[in-house]
């Protein structure tokens, strides 16, 4: 209402989108003015990225319209939306850049690739023009440098230079700060403010609340596919935003089985691996469910893979049941008594082209064979046991796991470890893509494992699950455990606060 001056507006009106009948967006209105930085917030699965993908033309909307400067558009492809002046810098910068070409070529990629372009390249003037654009955002790298030699933050800036060269009017920055250091983040904020000054509307997606209040003018919060609020920054505070993101009626019943907590079964000291696991210490006891919560990119998956030997650790020690564990490969980890139910179920947890039977017996092939020959009877017996135990719904034991539902696939991914002597179970986002009924089955299975004296590590970004299930909650942020709560000590707000605040809050 206030900005009818000379600014133009981007309006998305009553956008709805469903995937296979499941609504991802419900009648969302979204408005961005030119010359503002607009934060788009929401928990995972709230619909932010779907909305942005519709805006950038990657998805088609089911209903509704998009208006830019009083022109109405339907975007069927990313090039449509670029023509309307909307550009997107995705989190995965490498997918948008050609690594073995120079910075200049990358900046003018669309122009060079255009079929109407000139047949001959003038390298001199190309580099000159690129230099001009780069200096606009204060980037001092040589336009002749190859993109593959740049740092991640420089690559991001090259992408921003590209959209300047394309005369973008509205820009989507999809979690640009997630992989950046604090310095790099500040540099990026400076550039964002520059974009704003030159009249570009910036849509800024992030999980880190302090950043929002640093640079943004307005805030839109989404939850469960709906827009909850759009407000000027001055009218909001961090607590209000968190409440809006989580909603009020979020309580859910979790079957929590009582288990006796015993001696430590997993002891991790000073574990480091690459940039994502930067010094993790923790102890898990028998019968204890320890949840590790953190936002996407906090390093949870990386931690679970290092603990399982799937990725190498740089430093640190791991003990299982008092014995030092050698973690050079997953097969070492299994020997040591660790089992992993990975996040990427269909790619890593099960073999979709193999039967339920063969999946369930995979880790225990040795114990069901004699002199190398498999006992078919024993194999089937054990598999039938697991199917009955876990309530796996399958038409037959020889059904391919590809044809099972997500929840039943997950049960197979869990069930295959139950025949091993594992002491420690690592669950990485086990409820992802699993329906409600199967979810509580999975919680019950995890509870039972704890009752049997196993140590459970439950890595998740679903705060409610951590609160409902865990005896202890560790919060992971930027590769470190930054906070620990006992059961009942923390609220969702606390968890989200520590998970998104970042380490600068703790100095």
């Amino acid at each position: 209402m206030t900005a009818i001056l000379k600014t133009s507006e981007l309006n998305m009106r009553s956008i709805s989108k469903s995937f296979a009948g499941v609504p991802a967006l419900k009648n969302v209105d979204f408005n961005v003015r030119s010359g503002e930085i607009h934060a788009l917030l929401g928990a995972n699965g709230a619909g932010k990225s779907t909305l942005m993908k519709i805006l950038s033309g990657a998805f088609e909307t089911d209903t509704g319209s998009i208006e830019v400067e009083s022109g109405s558009y339907t975007f069927n492809s990313p090039s449509d939306s670029k023509r309307a002046g909307i550009h997107c810098v995705y989190q995965e910068v490498d997918t948008s850049l050609v690594a073995h070409l120079s910075v200049s070529e990358n900046i003018f990629l669309d122009k060079l690739a255009a079929s109407k372009g000139k047949a001959w390249l003038k390298w001199g003037s190309l580099h000159e023009e690129a230099k001009a654009v780069l200096s606009q955002i204060g980037l001092t790298i040589s336009p002749r440098a190859l993109v593959r030699d740049l740092t991640l933050s420089e690559k991001q800036l090259v992408l921003i230079a590209r959209l300047l060269a394309e005369k973008a009017k509205f820009v989507i920055l999809d979690e640009p700060t997630a992989p950046l250091s604090i310095e790099e983040t500040h540099k990026l904020f400076g550039i964002m403010k520059g974009l704003k000054k030159s009249g570009i509307g910036v849509i800024f997606i992030t999980h880190r609340l302090p950043e929002v209040f640093d640079v943004c003018d307005r805030i839109t919060v989404m939850r469960d596919g709906e827009r909850v609020l759009t407000e000027e920054k001055q009218n909001m505070d961090a607590a209000g935003v968190v409440r809006a993101m989580l909603g009020r009626s979020f309580e859910e019943e979790f079957p929590k089985l009582a288990a006796v907590i015993g001696e430590p079964v997993l002891t991790v000291k000073g574990l480091e691996a690459g940039r994502r696991v930067r010094g993790v210490d923790m102890v898990v006891r028998r019968g204890e469910i320890v949840a590790i919560v953190g936002l996407v990119g906090a390093g949870k998956t990386e931690l679970s893979r290092v603990l399982f030997g799937a990725d190498p650790a740089d430093r640190g020690t791991v003990e299982v049941a008092g014995k030092p564990a050698k973690l050079n490969s997953p097969s070492d980890a299994v020997q040591s008594g660790i089992a992993l139910i990975p996040e990427e179920r269909r790619k890593e947890g099960i073999l979709v082209k193999e039967s339920v039977l063969h999946n369930l017996s995979l880790p225990i092939l040795k114990s069901i064979s004699r002199l190398g020959f498999l006992s078919g009877k024993l194999e089937r017996e054990l598999a039938n046991n697991q199917i009955a135990n876990l309530g796996i719904k399958t038409s037959s034991i020889s059904q391919l796991t590809a044809f099972l539902s997500g929840g039943n696939q997950q049960k197979v991914a869990i069930g295959k470890w139950l025949g091993t002597e594992a002491d420690v179970f690592l669950f990485d986002e086990p409820t992802k893509g699993v329906d409600v009924g199967a979810k509580s089955d999975i919680f019950r299975i995890i509870g039972k494992l704890a009752q049997e004296g196993k140590g459970i590590v439950y890595l998740t970004c679903e705060l409610a699950e951590a609160l409902g299930l865990a005896d202890r909650i560790l919060i992971m942020c930027d590769g470190r455990i930054v906070k620990s709560f006992n059961r009942g000590e923390a609220s969702q707000e606390d968890l989200l606060y520590y998970a998104s605040a970042g380490r600068e809050e703790f100095v």
Binding site: V334, E348, K353, E354, L362, F373, T420
Partner: protein, 328 residues
């Protein structure tokens, strides 16, 4: 009606096709469907089947071994020279080429598993190298009993009688190579169906990362698969030497395509849609029947390649149409 007919065609189509081909040739020529001709067909495919079993193993772990043809050539001349040049006892003559085949497999595994060169490129390079080695080793000459040597003398040794029996002899009226082939087919089938290591190979090929995250030592499994591929190729080479009674240069060159064709025709047998030993065997049988029958009908030798290629395309088309439909 149609829903039932289609899966049936996919499942038994290949076998019915083989049956029809046999029926066709039997009607065309009275000599075709005789005991001596049928055993002749089996004998003619025995060498290719050994090589094809190796290819099946490498494909099972989702790899590919293009070097098998060159390995056959190398193994053939090594076998022959051990007798003709060095007069070695039979045991050495049999063991050394197999060790050589295993070494070629290890080299492949080193390049593919350790250095991570894509399988096709690595084995293509190894094929080149091994092909060069076997010609360098023999200086480009084929090896035969008492062959003249470059210094003007003749080679001291002859092809061992017992050795020649392996490729040419008969046991209870069945050519010995056929018995060996059937034993290998049954053995390999049992290996994949009933042993832990076979299962590990299948699972590794199904999804290497998932298999690894289930605790399998996938690198070791893949290495063993390439070694096995090399060993089976070298056995093919030994059989070739004993069958021909000499060590021919480049003997194995045509083996690569023929064995690969057999394996891929095998994909369509029982609608397996994946490499499998029984399918490979029937694939080899089909190819053998086609060559034999067409030769009887005086089809020009090179024309049979066109027919064989056509059959391969047909089998692949059926398999992949079926697989893609199942996915959808």
């Amino acid at each position: 009606m149609k829903n039932k007919l289609m899966p049936f065609t996919f499942k038994y189509g290949a076998l019915i096709f083989i049956g029809l081909v046999i029926l066709f040739f039997s009607m065309k020529s009275e000599y075709f469907f005789t005991y001596s001709n049928l055993t002749d067909i089996l004998r003619s495919i025995s060498i290719v089947t050994f090589v094809a079993i190796g290819v099946t193993i490498s494909l099972t772990v989702d790899g590919f071994d293009l070097s098998v043809g060159a390995t056959v050539s190398l193994s053939t001349v090594v076998t022959a020279t051990l007798m003709v040049w060095y007069e070695m006892p039979l045991a050495v003559v049999l063991i050394v080429p197999i060790v050589v085949g295993a070494l070629v497999g290890l080299l492949n595994a080193l390049l593919i598993v350790k250095i991570r060169i894509p399988d096709l490129l690595a084995t293509l390079a190894v094929m080149y190298i091994v092909g060069g080695i076997h010609k360098t080793y023999t200086k480009g000459y084929s090896i035969y009993s008492n062959m003249p040597l470059q210094d003007g003398t003749t080679a001291p040794g002859v092809m061992n009688k017992d050795f020649l029996w392996i490729g040419q002899g008969k046991l209870l009226g069945v050519p010995f190579p056929v018995i060996l082939m059937l034993l290998a087919v049954i053995g390999a089938h049992i290996f994949f169906k009933y042993t832990r290591w076979g299962r590990q190979m299948i699972m590794t090929g199904g999804n290497e990362e998932a298999a690894r995250l289930s605790g399998l030592k996938v690198k070791r499994v893949r290495t063993l698969a390439y070694v096995a591929s090399g060993v089976f190729a070298s056995i093919g080479g030994i059989l070739f030497a004993s069958r021909i009674g000499s060590g021919q240069i480049d003997a194995g060159a045509p083996m690569l395509m023929e064995s690969v064709a057999a394996v891929f025709v095998g994909y369509s047998v029982f609608a397996a849609g994946r490499p499998n030993i029984i399918g490979t065997f029937f694939g080899a049988v089909l190819m053998g029947v086609l060559v034999n029958g067409m030769t009887m009908m005086n089809v020009q030798y090179y024309t049979t390649d066109i027919i064989k290629g056509g059959v391969l395309v047909l089998a692949l088309a059926i398999t992949f149409i079926h697989l893609n439909r199942r996915k959808a």
